[in-house]
Amino acid sequence: MIGDHPDRDDLVAYSLGALDTREASAVEAHAPSCARCSRELEALAPAVAVLGESVEQLEPPAELRERVLAIVRDDAEAKRGAAREPQATTRRERRGLQGFLLRPAVGLVGLAVVAAGAGGYFVADIGGGGGEATVPVVAERGIGGTLAVGEESSMLDLHGLKHRLTGREVYQVWVEHGSGVQPSSNFIPDGSGRAMTAVDGHLGNGTKVMVTLEPHPGETAPTAPVLLSATVE
């Protein structure tokens, strides 16, 4: 058991999310290994949960249901498509092993990221020799973030995005290889305009990652201006 028992007042405050960060951390460090405190928190949980249900019940707008379920269906469709893609990649890799299409060497030589802003572009270059590189991005319009490039997948961490999307709008990630542009993940920023999204697959030299704000999910090619792009060099 770690630390002293919190008093009961503190456990109640913790269950309501009312402890300060340091106090909450102390409870979280102690409670899992303390049967007495765990029991007390478990006993409090239903009372806290029912607070959320105690509000007047309202019917959400039908448009919200349509919007959310349309995004879910498009996500599912995109993932089914992505699940088919690795088979094709595997075939290409097999061909590569036979000398028809060679994969880039492991490790990055450099990464250039370009973010389109209202008044121009910001370009950041870094060198790197490891398996992952992270590049900060800043745009005049306020869109910024990082692209962490990994061997098997990469991660876009963006901020300054429009967070109140209209209709079925969705941010769409595109990956441009030599052979053309393919849709990758799509995402909706949180209430502060931040979003993290994975870009699956190895991004070889010359691969360009782009983000557009599409009027609806499911597009097979960009229909809106590119807001941000990153090219692996």
Binding site: R8, D9, D10, V12, A13, S15, L16, G17, A18, L19, D20, A43, L44, A45, P46, A47, V48, A49, V50, L51, G52, E53, S54, V55, E56, Q57, L58, E59, P60, P61, L64, R65, R67, V68, L69, I71, V72, R73, D75, A76, K79, H163, R164, I188, D190, G191, S192
Partner: protein
């Protein structure tokens, strides 16, 4: 699995299918949880538009996170509302100048789900919620206020103490007394 079969599953049995990215299972999940999610979001953020944003973000985060629900840690409803509350409180904190709604009643009258469209489980939930709502209204004002400020307002106990100009120990004691009464009401309802 057909929609009818999915609708017969308990919430806890539905979630593994949502985690496997079955859009039809998510649709059933949405229909069960969206009303409570939207209602709580509206109660915290106080506007229809913001409540829609919070509900959409919270439910899509469940879909996109692989629905990491752990049945050992409570009900699906409680888990979902915990996510909604966190999103709503985040929004409140980010939007400076906005204060949480503290009145227990007086919400804008929106469309309500007709009683005859409710499932038995949902009807029972709402009956319990009504009893708890009555218990909260029946709490002494000082106990009700600190619980509402923390749960619906997202304020810490030290912030509440400063806001009400009361000692921290007094605020925590009022939270405990109020929650004990809500627990007692729940025990009677169940």
């Amino acid at each position: 699995m057909t929609r009818g079969e999915l609708q017969r599953l308990a919430d806890e049995d539905l979630m593994p299918l949502v985690a496997r990215e079955d859009p039809l299972a998510f649709e059933v999940f949405y229909d069960r949880q969206a009303g409570a999610a939207y209602s709580l979001a509206y109660r915290i953020v106080g506007s229809r538009t913001a409540a829609e944003d919070v509900t959409q973000e919270a439910l899509l985060s469940i879909w996109r996170s692989g629905a990491r629900f752990d049945r050992a840690r409570g009900s699906v409803r409680a888990w979902t509302l915990g996510i909604v509350r966190n999103r709503a409180i985040d929004l409140l904190r980010k939007e400076s100048g906005r204060s949480p709604k503290l009145a227990a009643g007086g919400e804008e009258l929106l469309e309500r789900t007709p009683a005859d469209e409710l499932t038995d489980a949902e009807a029972l939930r709402r009956e319990t919620a009504r009893e708890v709502r009555g218990a909260i209204k029946g709490l002494p004002d000082d106990q009700s206020r600190v619980i509402q400020l923390s749960y619906f307002g997202g304020f810490s106990h030290s912030e509440i103490a400063e806001m009400l100009n009361e000692p921290l120990g007094t605020v925590k004691g009022r939270m405990r007394l109020g929650m004990d009464k809500i627990r007692a009401t729940l025990a009677e309802a169940w």
